[in-house]
Symmetry: C2
Subunit: 352 residues, 2 copies
C-alpha cells in the first residue's frame, strides 16, 4: 500500500515535470538593427523581453542585443535565419534586395496610414502575404511597432514646381528614391554621420530622415529651413523576426506568451512614437519658429504619384507575386481611404 502511494506520488511528480509549465528555462537572444538606446525604435524588444519574463514567471528570458554589440544592423534577417539569434527586430524593407515583396510589410510611397495598414494586416490579406514572403527564409515575421507618417525631408530651397526637382541632389533611400529619380532628382545615399556636413556644404540640396524628434537632434534645420510633410513613408511598421525552428520547440503556452507580448509591444511603440512626436513638434515650433513647414504643391504631389505608379507597375511586370500583392493592397487602400478621409480627415478638418 505504502509502495503504491509512493509510486503514485512519483507519477505525479514526473507528470508535473513533463508539463510545459515545469519545463526548464528557455533563454533566447534577439538582435536589433538599432542601437539599444534608440527609443522609440528600440522600445519594442525591451518591452517584449519584460512582458515575456513576467508572464512566464522568469522561465522564458529574451536577451536583447543592439547593433553596438553585434555590429551587423542589416544582417538581422540572415542571423535569425541562421539561428545565431532566435529573434530579431528590424524593418522589412531592408530586405528588398533579397525579395522586393518585403517592402509591403513596412510602408510604401503613397501607401496606407497606420490604421488602414493594421486593418489590412489583420483583417485583410496582409499577414497571409507576410507569411508567404518569409516562409522561404525559415523565419516568422510579426508587426513590431509603427512610426506613423514620416516627414518628407529638409530642403535648402523651396519647391514650387516639378521643375525645381530636376537636378536636385537628395539623400532619400528605397522606393521613394526610385520615384524621385524618375522626376530628375539626383538620388544619393550618404552615411548618417556625414549628412549634416553634406547638407551644409551643398554636396546635397535636400535629405529625408525621420520626423521632428530625431531630425532636430541632427541640426538639419540650421542649414535647410524648408521642412516638407510626408508622402513616401506614411506608416513605417517595424518587424519582429522569429526563427521558425526555435519557435516550434517552444511549449504551447510560451508560444502564446511570445505572440501576445509582440502584439502589445508593437502597439506600445505606436503610441510612444506618437506621444514623442507630439512633444517634439511642440518644442520645435517654440524653439525654432523660423523652420518653414510646407506641404508639396499639388502638381508636385501629382507628378510624384504618377512616378510611384510607374515604379510599382514596372516591378509588377517582372514579379507575379508583386503584382498580386500590389493589386490586393491597392484595392484595400481605396476602400479604407474613403472611410479614413470621411471619418478621420473629416474630424481633423471640422473647423476648416
Amino acid at each position: 500500500m505504502k509502495r503504491i502511494v509512493k509510486a503514485a506520488a512519483l507519477v505525479g511528480v514526473v507528470a508535473l515535470l513533463a508539463s510545459p509549465l515545469a519545463a526548464k528555462k528557455v533563454k533566447w537572444k534577439l538582435a536589433e538593427t538599432w542601437p539599444s538606446t534608440l527609443t522609440p525604435l528600440a522600445s519594442p524588444p525591451l518591452k517584449l523581453a519584460q512582458y515575456v519574463k513576467e508572464m512566464s514567471d522568469g522561465k522564458f528570458i529574451i536577451k536583447v542585443e543592439g547593433k553596438e554589440k553585434h555590429k551587423a544592423p542589416l544582417g538581422i534577417l540572415d542571423m535569425v535565419k541562421g539561428g545565431q539569434y532566435q529573434m530579431g527586430h528590424s524593418g522589412s524593407y531592408y530586405w528588398k534586395g533579397k525579395d522586393i515583396n518585403t517592402v509591403w510589410f513596412t510602408t510604401v510611397p503613397f501607401g496606407m496610414t497606420p490604421s488602414e495598414q493594421y486593418a489590412w494586416f489583420y483583417y485583410g490579406n496582409g499577414m497571409k502575404y507576410m507569411k508567404e514572403v518569409y516562409d522561404k527564409f525559415g523565419v516568422m515575421n510579426f508587426p513590431g511597432g509603427n512610426t506613423g507618417n514620416q516627414m518628407g525631408g529638409w530642403f535648402r530651397k523651396e519647391i514650387n514646381s516639378v521643375d525645381d526637382l530636376k537636378g536636385l541632389k537628395m539623400r532619400i533611400p528605397g522606393l521613394a528614391g526610385e520615384v524621385l529619380a524618375k522626376l530628375g532628382v539626383n538620388v544619393t545615399n550618404i552615411p548618417a554621420g556625414e549628412l549634416y556636413t553634406s547638407l551644409d556644404r551643398g554636396t546635397i540640396d535636400a535629405l529625408e530622415w525621420v520626423g521632428p524628434g530625431m531630425d532636430i537632434k541632427m541640426g538639419f534645420h540650421k542649414v535647410a529651413p524648408y521642412y516638407y510633410t510626408g508622402w513616401h513613408e506614411p506608416a513605417s511598421e517595424m518587424q519582429f523576426l522569429v526563427n521558425k525552428k526555435a519557435y516550434n520547440k517552444l511549449p504551447d503556452n510560451f508560444k502564446a506568451i511570445l505572440v501576445t507580448a509582440m502584439k502589445a509591444a508593437a502597439f506600445d511603440m505606436y503610441v510612444e512614437n506618437f506621444a514623442e512626436s507630439v512633444k517634439a513638434w511642440d518644442k520645435m515650433k517654440k524653439d525654432f519658429p523660423n523652420i518653414k513647414v510646407k506641404h508639396f504643391p499639388k502638381p508636385v504631389i501629382g507628378a510624384m504619384r504618377k512616378a510611384a505608379t510607374e515604379v510599382y507597375e514596372s516591378y509588377a511586370a517582372k514579379n507575379p507575386k508583386f503584382k498580386e500583392i500590389y493589386e490586393d493592397y491597392t484595392s484595400y487602400m481605396k476602400k479604407a481611404r474613403a472611410w479614413s478621409q470621411m471619418m478621420q480627415g473629416g474630424y481633423l478638418n471640422l473647423d476648416k
Copy 2:
C-alpha cells in the same frame, strides 16, 4: 543516504507545488454590457479569455457572460465592485451618474482622436487620473478597445444653420445631449427597439447611433436620408474593470498575463472595428447611393463647440477634480492636435 535523497526530492516537490506556476486553477467570471455576440464591442472579452487561457496553459480561466445572461447591462461597475464578477467590460461614461469624471476615459464632444487619447492615457496623465477616479470603487480600470470616431447621426431634414436645430426632437444621450440642448434641441432618450418607428412616425426628427456597420442594420436610412459626420464621440474607448481584491490575490505571473492580454485585446478591437467600418462604408455607398453624407456647416460646428465649452466650464465650476482633468486634457489635446492635423490630416489632404 537513500533517505536523504528522498527527503531532498520531497523538498523539491513541495517547492514546485508552492511556486505560482504550480498554483491551482484560477477561475474568474466577466460580465459585459453587450450581448455576447455583438462584435466588435463584444470581441475584447472573448480575445482576453482566449489569450489568458493559452498563456497560462489552461490554469487561468475567464468565463464571459453577456447581458442576455446577467440582465444588468448598466450594473457592471456595481457587480465588479461587489465581487459577484471579478471582471467587467463596458464603457466608462455609463458611470457619470456616480462620478462625472468617468467620462474622460471614454470620449467627450470635440475631444481627442484615438491616437491622441492613447498617447494621453499612456504617456500623459490619463492612466493616473483613471486610477484616481476608480480607486474609490475598489475597481481597477484599463482601456478596452476603441470604436474610432462615431457618426453624428441621421436627420430627416438637412441642417443648414443653427436655427434648424431649434425645436428639433433628437435622441442623443450623454454630454452631447447636454450640448445640443443648449442650442434648443429637444433631447430625448428612447429604447433601441423603438428608434426606427419613432423616426418613421416623426416622434423624433433625428437620432445618433454608432456608425455605418451598426446603423444600416437598424434601417434608419430609409426614413432619414441625411447622415452627418461626427463631433460628439471622436474616440469611444471601452473599458475593462477588475475587482482590486481579486487582482491582488493573483500570482505575479497571472497579473502580468492579465494586463498584457487586456492591452492586446483592446488593440485588436480598435483594428477590428476600423476594418468592419471600412467594409460597411463601402457596402453602404454601393447599396444605398441615396444616403446624403454631410459635414455640419462651419457656423453650426462653431455653435456646438461654444456650447460644449459652456458645459465643460459649468461642471468644472462645481467639481475641482473635473476642472483639473479638463485643463490637463485640453492642454494635451492642443499640442497633440497640431501634430495630428499636420501629419495625419496633411496626408489625407495631399491631393486636395
